[in-house]
Symmetry: C2
Subunit: 283 residues, 2 copies
Amino acid sequence: MPFQYLEYYNGTTGLSVGVNKVLFSEQTPFQKVEVYETDTWGNLMTIDGMVMLSEKDEFVYHEMIAHVACFSHPNPKRVLIIGGGDGGTAREVLKHPSVEAVDMVEIDEAVVRASKLHMPEVGDFSNPKLRVLYENGLTFVNDVPEKYDVIIIDGSDPVGPAVDLFKQEFYDKCHAALNENGVLTGQTESPWVDSYHESIQSVFRAVDNVFDYSRMYLAFIPLYPTGMWSMAYASKGIDPLSDEVKARIEAGLKDFGSSLRYYNAEMHSAAFALPGFVRDIIR
Amino acid sequence: MPFQYLEYYNGTTGLSVGVNKVLFSEQTPFQKVEVYETDTWGNLMTIDGMVMLSEKDEFVYHEMIAHVACFSHPNPKRVLIIGGGDGGTAREVLKHPSVEAVDMVEIDEAVVRASKLHMPEVGDFSNPKLRVLYENGLTFVNDVPEKYDVIIIDGSDPVGPAVDLFKQEFYDKCHAALNENGVLTGQTESPWVDSYHESIQSVFRAVDNVFDYSRMYLAFIPLYPTGMWSMAYASKGIDPLSDEVKARIEAGLKDFGSSLRYYNAEMHSAAFALPGFVRDIIR
C-alpha cells in the first residue's frame, strides 16, 4: 500500500518521499534497516528512519567519499572502509587500478544483504579484492594486522551504533592504522542542521589534533537533510589541493571513462571551498 | 492552528515544513502569495505553493545571484533586477559602493508588501538608490530609457507569470539593455529535477546564442527542491573566472566586513565547477 515516507531533520522540517512498496524491513540487533521502492529515486534504503541512499542519487556520496581520498593518495593499495555496507564506496574505490585490497568492516550484515537483494547495481561484492568483515569498526581499528593507505569512514548518523565514529579516540586509532601518506575521509553530516554541529566539531577537532592536514569538503546530496553534506579529509602529509594531487587527478581520470557522474578534477578542488557560515562552525 | 506545509517537487518527493501560523495569504491578479511562521527557518514566503525564501536561508540565494554579477563587472553603476520583490537581491547589490541606481521591476506589489510586513530584515527598501517599479519585467526590457551594467533575473519558477523569463526573446532584450561589459545573472532551477531540464536548457541556449560568455553556477539552498540550485551567468566580454575578476573580489570584499555568510572569493570560483551529470544537461 503506497504511503509517504517522512524524515524530520530540523525541528518540523523534513523530507517526504512517496513509497510504492516496502521491499525490506528488518529490526537487526543494531538498528532498523528498510528498503523502499519509490517513484523517482529508484529503491531507497533507510536506517532507523534516516535516508542512507537511493539508487538514483547514491553516486554523489560514493564518488565524493571514495575519490577525494583515493586520488589524493599517491598510490593507494590497501583501503579500509568502516561501515559502507551498501557496497557503493567499495565499488568506487575498486575503480582505482592501484588498489589491491579493500577491507570493508560493516557491523550489520543485514545492510549488505538488503543492498545485494534490492540495490544490485550499488555494490561490487563479487570483486575478489573486496573482503567483507562483519565486525565493529571501532574495535577493528584497535589493532589492525596490517596498516592501510586509505581509511574511509562511511558510517551512519551520530545516533545508534555510529556515535563513537565522531570521537577523538576513534581518530587516534585510525591515525595509527594508516601508513605514511595515509589519507582518511568520512561523512560528517549537514552544516545546516544545528543539532549536528557538536558532532561536526568533534570530528574536526579530533582529526586536526592528530593529522598534518585536515579539511572539510562539501557535496550536493538531494535526499540527505538540507541537500548540503559535509565530509572530512585528513592526511599524514598529503595536501588534497596540491599541484601534485591535481596532476594525479587529471592523469588518473583518463582511466575512468564515463563511469563518474559527479566527481571530476574541478569538483575535487571546488568541494573544499566553504561558505563563511560553514567555516564558522569548525573554526 | 499549526500544520505541515508540503511542496512536492519531483513526483511524490517533497519538502515538509511545520507552520505555526499563516501571517499573510493573498490571491493577487498574478499568483498566491503566502508567508508562514516556522519553527527553525524564521518566516517563510511561498508563491503558488513553492518556497521563495525563508529568513534563515535567504542569504545564500541573494548573495550568490547578486555578488557573482556585481564582482564580475568592473564597475557596476546601474543595476536592473527583474522580480526580486522580497528585496534581498537589491539589499546585496546595494552593498557595492560603485552602485548608483537599482531599478527593481516586480510584477506583483503584494510580494513587496508581504516582505516589508513579515520579513523586515530582508529588504532595504528605504535606500534612496533603490527604485521599485510595479511592472512586467518582460515589457520593461523591451525599451529601457537608459542601459544597465548588470541585470539580475530574480524570478519565480517557470510556471505562472515567470514562464517567459526562460525564453530566447527575453535574453535578446536583456542583451540589448546592457552596456558594454554588461553582466547578467539569473536563477535557473534544480538540475536534479528532470521536469526542469527543458527550462534550464532553454535559458542556457538563449544566453549562449547572444552573449560572449555564458556559464552555469551552483549554490546550496536547503529549502529549494533537492538543495542544489543552478544560476546562469552571462556577459558581454567578462569572464567570471579571470584573474582580473579574482583580484577585484579579493580587494572588494575588504569593504564587506562580516556581512556575507556564503559568498567569498573561493565560493565565487568553486560555484562554477559542475558535476558531469549537470554538465550533460546543458551540453
